[in-house]
Symmetry: C2
Subunit: 771 residues, 2 copies
């Protein structure tokens, strides 16, 4: 009951997240939900002023990490020695407000009135306003507006207004940069940051810090000015400590008057600026920010976000809740990754938390790639592929470490710089299906864009290295007279160390066959390039034969009685009962059951066989999909954020629109409604791409068919219409689906042949087709 009440604390609104009313219990949840970022830097929605209540402070610089020494209960051979983790960076947003000697602190207030938090997704800013009565009786009104600039990637800005309501007072406002940051998740109490020094210059001040071991050099800066109603600027004192630099503004304000602090801040790091140019870069950013000014920057921000929305927005008519959900997902994805830098990627929590160390998972390839591919230009998706190509040598080293021969690659389960940084044997060593997703992404990109340049150059090296891994990873079973894959964990992490996980075997088979097919294709179109790659990779005809043999003779578990694929060899030895038969107090089972009990149950954390049928849908009949969906979906507890979306898409594909809709709601409002009781740890960023897929591939039924776009639109009962856009091979296509019709508008490009419900149609500029 409590949960349901709490769910409603975010107001429904098509373009904003709004919280009205103070709730100390929800501070950390809101810090996650209202996070802001620009793909390079990002931060939780922590308060600027001092807050002594429960808070989870987080500010992050993309690509800046620390290799923490692994700490496990029981060491297993093969574990990585280090676990790279995203760093909590020095704080540039902080300030103190002191009114007649009492510091403003929401946790210690006598009264809080009209507390309101708004994340305006259309314009890309965060606003927090409230009135507060201090213990000394002072009544103040505060408004804070903050954004992380899309225009200047190192920059954030705050406009912080303080107004006196009932008294005259001596006021101090002390903005600061604080580099005294601990990572509470340090395994061995190591320090992650070394402080190098601080500097004051004009209205600016900054602290230079260097990460231990990785030597990332980061300047955290601020530039402040304080303006009174009169338009007068207040003079400041500068206070410099070893770990903190402050500007101290002291002034007298009369009842009704207000003061406004403009604070620019952010990070310049050696990731993009050579160390000896960092100070200069800080100065130039600050100078540019001042030149443009806060209000103009805010306008630019709105325009920039407008550009993003223009392409990536999905409009849903008739369902504000669903509308808010999808926009929140699209907004967060764009805050997390913008595709401009191939060294960056998408952590499961983005810039909204630290869980999972901020590393990259197979989520990127399996879920996120399509979103960026369809809503951005081709270069962005390409950067996601390049991210893995740059890590190919590390993936090969990883395979060697685990006993494989030279040339085979096992991509890490979690990574920052290409090295594995996960340490749980059943995942690190066994959840190897991730390797398949790396190859699949290359296939998916090529299929969608029609661009084979990447495939035949960098891509093919990845495909062969991955295929080689599979050739070595199989065993020949005399009992089955086929190749088997023993000891794996499939996408369903509620089974560990199983034999012949269908998904893993299927994607392994596909990886080998796709690598061979790609080589064949290259041979057809570019014999020389083909010979070059064979020579470079020492790929022989004998190896090709062996790979073909393994691929063609891999065992795929199957139950003839039910005519379904088997999640793993012994799945049917389990007691099969639908998840709906679980008692409510047993769910989620991962919080209520011991691990062994989960493992020997039939319950599935996230799509497994169905994940494979989703990725390779065209290899199966609708009837096959139907049977497997019918068997597996009822056993699925969806305790991974990545689960509902896949099922929603498949349900749409099977015409089960009602089921698809209920699963869609679960994925799109997962964080806003806090289904998993954990949003305070951060938002589920990567699964947000799954939400987008649930609409575009799910309800919209978008696929690539015969080198063309294909749609099979459905619409949930309570939606009037929905619209999305597709950037496809130099065309921009708007798709508007209503109950009666589907309308295509070509916003860019001339003519486009596409399939609608299986029929080839030609779009000149605009076409409306009745359903």
């Amino acid at each position: 009951m409590l949960h349901n009440m709490q769910k409603k604390y975010i107001k429904e609104d098509p373009w904003s997240l709004i919280q009205e009313g103070w709730n100390a219990e929800r501070v950390e949840s809101s810090e996650s939900l209202f996070s802001i970022g620009n793909g390079f830097i990002g931060q939780r929605a922590n308060f600027e002023e001092t807050y002594s209540g429960k808070t989870f402070q987080g500010s992050y610089v993309g690509g800046v990490y620390y290799p923490d020494k692994t700490r496990v209960g029981w060491w297993k051979n093969g574990y990585p020695e280090y676990f790279a983790k995203v760093l909590n960076a020095p704080n540039w947003i902080g300030l103190k407000v002191i009114c007649n000697d009492e510091e403003l602190d929401l946790n210690l207030a006598k009264e809080i009135i009209n507390y309101r938090l708004e994340l305006n997704m259309r314009a890309g800013w965060l606003n927090r306003s409230f009135e507060i009565i201090l213990q000394n009786g002072s009544h103040l009104k505060i408004n804070s507006r903050r954004f992380i600039s899309l225009a200047i990637k190192e920059l954030g800005a705050i406009k912080y207004d303080v107004q006196l309501i009932n008294i005259d007072a001596d006021v101090k406002i002390i903005p600061f940069v604080d580099a005294d940051i601990n990572n509470s998740d340090s395994n061995w109490d190591h320090k992650f940051w070394n402080i190098v020094g601080s500097k004051f210059q004009g209205n600016a001040a900054w602290i230079r810090t260097i990460t231990n071991k990785t030597n990332f050099d980061v300047a955290t800066f601020m530039d402040t000015k304080l303006i009174l109603d009169s338009g007068d600027l207040v003079e400041k004192n500068q206070i410099s400590g070893h770990k903190k630099v402050e500007h101290n503004y002291e002034f007298h304000l009369e009842k009704g008057q207000s003061a406004t602090l403009i604070k620019f801040g952010g990070y310049v790091s050696s990731l993009n600026t050579p160390s000896d140019g960092i100070d200069q870069k800080v100065v130039s950013i600050i100078s540019k920010a001042n030149e443009i000014g806060f209000d103009a920057l805010l306008n630019i921000q709105k325009k920039k976000w407008g550009d993003v929305w223009k392409m990536s927005d999905i409009q849903i008519e008739g369902d504000v809740s669903a509308q808010q959900g999808i926009r929140f997902n699209i907004f967060q994805l764009n805050q997390t990754y913008n595709g401009e830098d191939y060294r960056l990627n998408i952590g499961p929590k983005g810039f909204t938390g630290e869980k999972y160390g901020g590393g990259t998972y197979w989520d990127t390839e399996a879920y996120c790639l399509p979103f960026y591919m369809v809503t951005k230009n081709q270069e962005v998706a390409l950067n996601l592929l390049r991210y893995r190509y740059q890590h190919l040598e590390k993936a090969k080293e990883n395979a060697i470490k685990l006993g494989f021969n030279t040339g085979a690659a096992l991509y890490p389960m979690v990574t920052m710089n290409g090295e594995e940084c996960h340490n749980e044997w059943e995942i690190t060593f066994e959840e190897i299906h991730r390797n398949g997703a790396i190859s699949y992404a290359i296939f998916n990109y090529t299929r969608y864009t029609g661009d084979t340049k990447y495939l035949f150059n960098e891509g093919i090296e990845v495909l062969i290295a991955v295929a080689r891994f599979w050739v070595q990873r199989v065993h020949f079973s005399k009992v089955k007279n086929q190749y088997v894959i023993l000891g794996v964990t499939g996408p369903n992490e509620y089974e560990n160390n199983v034999n012949n996980n269908w998904y893993t075997n299927f994607i392994a088979k596909w990886c080998m066959s796709y690598a061979l097919e790609t080589l064949d294709n290259l041979k057809q179109i570019n014999k020389e390039g083909f010979e070059d790659i064979k020579e470079k990779l020492l790929f022989t005809d004998a190896e090709s034969e062996k790979m073909k043999n393994v691929s063609e003779n891999i065992y795929l578990p199957y139950d003839s009685e039910r005519d379904i694929f088997l999640q793993q060899d012994l799945f049917l030895d389990k007691e099969i009962a639908p998840a709906s038969s679980l008692k409510p107090d047993e769910r989620p089972i991962n919080q209520n059951w011991s691990w062994d009990r989960i493992l020997r149950s039939c319950y599935i954390k996230q799509a497994d066989v169905l994940q494979g049928m989703y990725l390779f849908e065209d290899q199966f009949t609708k009837a096959e999909l139907e049977r497997n969906f019918e068997f597996y979906e009822p056993l699925t507890v969806h305790e991974s954020s990545l689960s509902p979306c896949v099922h929603s898409i498949l349900a749409s594909s099977l015409g089960r629109t009602e089921k698809a809709y209920s699963l869609y709601l679960r994925t799109s409002r997962l964080d806003i409604d806090d289904y998993n009781h954990e949003v305070e740890e951060g938002c589920h960023i990567t699964s947000m791409a799954g939400t987008w897929l649930s609409i575009v591939e799910g309800f919209g039924g978008m696929r690539i068919l015969n080198d063309r776009l294909s749609f099979n639109p459905k619409i949930p009962d309570n939606w009037k219409a929905y619209t999305f856009k597709v950037n496809f091979r130099n065309h921009i296509l708007r798709v508007e689906v209503s109950k009666e019709s589907t309308k295509f508008v070509l916003e860019k490009g001339n003519e486009l042949e596409l399939y609608l419900n299986g029929n080839l149609i030609q779009i000149e500029s605009e076409a409306r087709v009745l359903s």
Copy 2:
């Protein structure tokens, strides 16, 4: 090569471990091998004087532990919050020797001459002698003799001689007690000991410490005197710090003269003495020690060890290496556990190290019980059973925590006080066969002693609680139409989370059937007792029926082609190749292969199917045993110390005496020859009982048959004869096996019927039977 050379650093000797010559690399290994203890307290063979080189300091008080907070990489539901671990206790042996202002330290010596270490197992003392030339040129001769008293359980004693060889000198000898002890394995840098205070009284001094959380109150004491050649005593100063108490002896010695420090020391703990009586107890022990004196105590020690050897010695003629090996094993077992206190048990490292936290494993029931049962009186074995009975309620709580219903018990994988303190899901939650060993020990004790009193009182409660666990732990497989046990780790820990581990299923079946059989037997002989127990345990006829049904219909994997039992459902999907085909540099595989590679290989860490056939040998034919041995033994890498002994016994049983002998050597000299390259961590105490079994059950072929002893003696080629004794139902039987004959001598008791090679014979007082 290096390894083989190093192996020989312990001299072969029938009654002693002797190291001759200084070897800094071997200090930690010798500290393990030369450990001393008396079942209550024990310690590694650390040097008394300062040593700045690599050393692993360890002194332990049996039953005194600390519940360290669990630290794992990834938490799993069901993990215990605490991990009880044996504590490194304050040091009572320490002293400093300072000669003309230079401190004696073997690590900083100019030269070390005639270094010799002897552990005299017959008399129970440790002696260390050497000459040392300090950097200042002083040449000293040192002899230290030390023992932990069998007569006074809290007491240890040291006689430390210092002789000047080439100079006159000002000498300081400073014996101390040091409570500044860190446990380097603390998970969260917690302190384990609180220091309460120190006290000086006469020649004695002690420090009182209390363990955090568990509140064990321990006094660590010393009593010293320093005697010159002249017989004069040297006066001392007392120095007291917060964490250390010292006696400071300063004196002048001339060339050729010597000084002798007599130091008594040890521990009095609240485990056996109420807190307010501890000081008094310290005083009375010291007074008693002084009354008897060092030399007389040493004589008593020899006599007490003589009593131990009288019953438990095994003599081997013609093979000094084997003789030294078995005596070392018997000696260490007796140092670790004496059966006088049912709250204590046998940690895998005893008092020789800290690995495995000093907790109790199934090793006790599966390997150690027979040794104590046969070489001690019945009460000792009974105390091992009582240890588990006192933990029954905790085992029930553990089962509830893992989702089982009231009344079922799952004994912990590792424990100190009955609570689980292991945290590796595939072991903690899945290596549940341990529960079977608990029941088996009751059966084994009853079979051997003929005493049913324990069985029908305490034992039956344990049997039912364990049987109930199995009834709940099975699943009914529709595919197999039988009960299956999913997701377990068998004794072979190189397979995890497998289905239907034959050993586990077999012992589960047996546990249920034995519990029911015991209830039936009780009903026959004591109807009222039967009704009482049913009522106490709420055991209904319906439950009995269900248990019977599960027991009779449990699936036991079997391969009809090879006519062998299958280690687990999918074992034959593995690639089968003998361990002999592994390259030498791959072994031990647990140090050279990644964990996943081990898991999907066919290699077996320790007996699994064969472990079951060993425990339940009479349920199988020799031909069955032969086939299974032939299949599994070649796949076994024996990387558990508990493996070779079981195979040695089975090989003997199959008449493969040569194989049995090679496996015997491996188990008996495992630590002395450091087969596993890890003796510096401590000795493998529990597997030492397996060594004893290899002779008595292996070569001697001792079994219980029709309520009588039975022997089928074999003798390895290079042994002339061997002799052991058996304490059986108020008889003491000496068994002497030579190539030509087997001789039985009844040292206690009148007449004994026994089987020799299947023939029933009667022993009056002595009998020799030609082979």
